[in-house]
């Protein structure tokens, strides 16, 4: 049973005065695929390395399968890791790379060969078994790194941005392969990435980190629908959610110089209770649509036509910039003045302007 629990885990780098990871609490279930996501410097890689034993747990603890890991060296943790730069042993062949851990455990050569060949078949590496890493392409090396991890049949997989060195197309392809593989093997996996698309598509649950602190740990849908603060709201979803700070009016907010947006009853009540004059509202681009009348008056700055859809970048008076999704055939033109309206099913998120905390 490989559950993973981070209990108030903190880590500080030698010679630094800033916490790389600050009191992280995560409860990961057996067989779950958890993604740690966040901008650079958010501590996600550090948190992963603490799990693998490559960074010290300076405070708090991490448990794997109920066993405390403080002071346990990496080689005794039964964890396999896929590194960002693959870290393949240059002087060993692919087969030797994949079989190294087994060799260290005293597994017989015949048994090793069998396991390596099995893993190679799954990853389509059979023809490369006798080659050295220098003679492989980036994508092939990545698969070898995965194979090295799989062969060990460990309790936990740790993956540190394994796709970031691949070209875009290969990245998408490999993404699905990794997700499918994990589902088949059922091994608990912790996966680090800065790419929120990877996070949303691969994870059972996603932990968003910022400056070493956990922001929210929930399923992708939950993060999308109910972000707990403005940072998560702006981080998840592409293009990013529109987040603007606007003054509150009697029945909504004023957007731009002469447009307003109506809000729900209970939203207004909560705003009133919070005693705020301004609020940060969030609307996703896909929930804004072109309208003939009503809505917010904006001027078009840029139209990005992606073929299947178009994104219209606009501004509504001083400093308010809004992005809306549109049909490419009916998209407006540059410098045109159009009106944006919230989709009937669309949600307006409300966040405190100073802390970013969710209000409603």
């Amino acid at each position: 049973m490989a559950t993973i629990t981070y209990k108030e885990a903190s880590c500080i780098y030698e010679g630094s005065d800033k916490l790389a990871v600050d009191s992280l609490n995560l409860d990961i279930e057996d067989g779950e695929f958890v993604v740690l996501v966040g901008p650079s410097g958010s501590g996600k890689s550090t948190a992963l390395r603490m799990l693998a034993g490559l960074e010290d747990i300076d405070e708090g603890g991490i448990e794997i399968g109920g066993k405390d890991m403080v002071g346990v060296s990496p080689k005794d943790r039964d964890i396999a890791m896929v590194f960002q730069n693959y870290a393949l042993y240059p002087n060993k062949t692919v087969a030797e790379n994949m079989g190294f851990a087994l060799k260290l455990r005293g597994v017989s050569a015949a048994e090793r060969r069998k396991k390596v060949e099995e893993a190679a078949k799954v990853l389509d590496l059979e023809q490369f078994l006798d080659r050295k890493p220098a003679k492989l392409s980036g994508g092939q090396r990545q698969r070898v790194a995965m194979g090295r991890a799989i062969v060990r049949e460990p309790q936990v997989f740790c993956m540190d941005e394994p796709l970031s060195n691949l070209d875009a197309k290969l990245r998408v392809q490999t993404r699905t392969q990794i997700a499918a593989l994990q589902r088949r093997l059922g091994t608990t996996t912790v996966y680090v990435t800065h790419d929120q698309v990877e996070a949303m598509t691969m994870g059972d649950r996603v932990a968003v980190l910022r400056d070493g602190k956990l922001q929210q740990f929930a399923s992708p849908n939950e993060l999308y629908d109910n972000p707990v603060n403005a940072f998560v709201a702006g981080f998840i979803g592409s293009p990013a959610m529109n987040l603007v700070t606007v003054p509150i009016t009697a029945d909504g907010v004023r957007v731009g110089d002469n447009s307003s947006l109506e809000l729900e009853r209970d939203q207004l009540t909560r705003l009133h209770d919070a005693g705020l004059a301004e609020v940060t509202i969030g609307i996703r681009p896909e929930q804004l649509e072109m309208a003939d009348s009503g809505g917010i008056e904006v001027v078009v700055d840029l139209v990005e036509d992606l073929g299947s859809e178009a994104y219209v970048y606009t501004h509504a008076g001083s400093g308010i910039q809004l992005v809306a999704r549109s049909n490419p055939r009916t998209a407006p033109k540059l410098a045109e003045t159009v009106r944006l309206r919230k989709h009937p099913d669309g949600v307006v998120h409300l966040f405190k302007p100073d802390t970013g905390e969710r209000i409603g």
């Binding site: 890791m81 870290a87 002087n91 060990r152």
Partner: protein, 288 residues
């Protein structure tokens, strides 16, 4: 237009551009001249070694002559064999010692750097800066008191201490080139630090270690100061032999050149053969 016509017109241009005339670079000629000039003393040394004595000592230098091996034979008769063996022994053993002490030291110094690392490195390099002359007197006294005067082991120990700082510094720079992730990956795979170093790091660093060993061999073989002061007859190395040879045979140039050739040639040839390693070592790994 048929398909074959299309193919032909596509293939033809590619053929033509393959033949590019190499321009004559005048600076290349300059380089050749300078190179030959620098090499000349060595060339002359080897050439003269094959001359009869009468051809060696002439007012106008002789480039054409009847070669002979007599002078080499004469050098052998004077007992160069012992010196050769001594040089070989001292060089080999001291280099092995340098590697045995230096590789672990360089490895330790290449791990997570801490101020103490800088201090240790500083210390190593500073020993190199101490003029050896300052220590020769007590060294002589100590060595003779221990009874190691005219003993090859005194030289071995001193050569090791002479080469160790440079060796540590060079090998450290090679260790630093290995990405730290490899050690981490090996650690996760279950290897102890020693095992990881042996199986993963050392094979990667071995060209660097070879380069360092070559530099050590060059300095040890060519060393003169310690050898001339601390050895007499039994533990004589080649440079000492050569100097002693001059005292006795000063006017016999062909013989002198033969002796000098035998003293210098082994290391010159080794350096030529392992030239790339040498260049790598001297530039601290900057040239691959």
């Amino acid at each position: 237009m048929t398909t074959t016509d299309v193919q032909k017109s596509v293939e033809a241009p590619v053929q033509k551009s393959k033949v590019k005339r190499r321009k004559f670079d005048p600076w290349g000629a300059v380089a050749w001249i300078v190179g030959l000039g620098f090499f000349f003393p060595v060339f002359w040394m080897v050439l003269t070694a094959f001359k009869h004595e009468v051809d060696a000592y002439t007012t106008t230098p002789k480039f054409f002559f009847v070669p002979t091996l007599d002078e080499f034979k004469a050098v052998f008769d004077q007992g160069v064999g012992t010196a050769l063996l001594n040089s070989l022994f001292a060089t080999t053993v001291s280099t092995i010692l340098v590697l045995a002490l230096g590789v672990p030291a360089a490895f330790a110094l290449s791990l997570r750097p801490v101020r103490k690392t800088q201090d240790a490195l500083f210390f190593f390099m500073s020993t190199k800066m101490l003029p050896v002359v300052a220590a020769i007197i007590p060294l002589y006294v100590i060595v003779s008191n221990i009874g190691l005067l005219d003993n090859i082991w005194a030289l071995i120990i001193l050569y090791t201490s002479m080469n160790l700082p440079i060796a540590v510094w060079m090998m450290r720079s090679f260790f630093l080139e290995v990405p730290g992730e490899l050690l981490e990956a090996a650690s996760l795979d279950g290897a102890s630090t020693w095992r990881a170093v042996r199986e993963v790091i050392l094979p990667l660093v071995s060209p660097g270690i070879a380069a360092t060993a070559l530099i050590c061999v060059i300095f040890a073989w060519n060393e003169f100061f310690f050898a001339v002061n601390l050895t007499a007859v039994q533990a004589q190395t080649m440079p000492v032999f050569l100097v002693g040879f001059i005292a006795g045979e000063g006017l016999y140039w062909a013989k002198l050149c033969a002796a000098a050739t035998m003293a210098a040639l082994p290391v010159v040839l080794a350096g030529w053969v392992a030239q790339n390693k040498l260049v790598r070592g001297l530039s601290f790994g900057a040239i691959k």
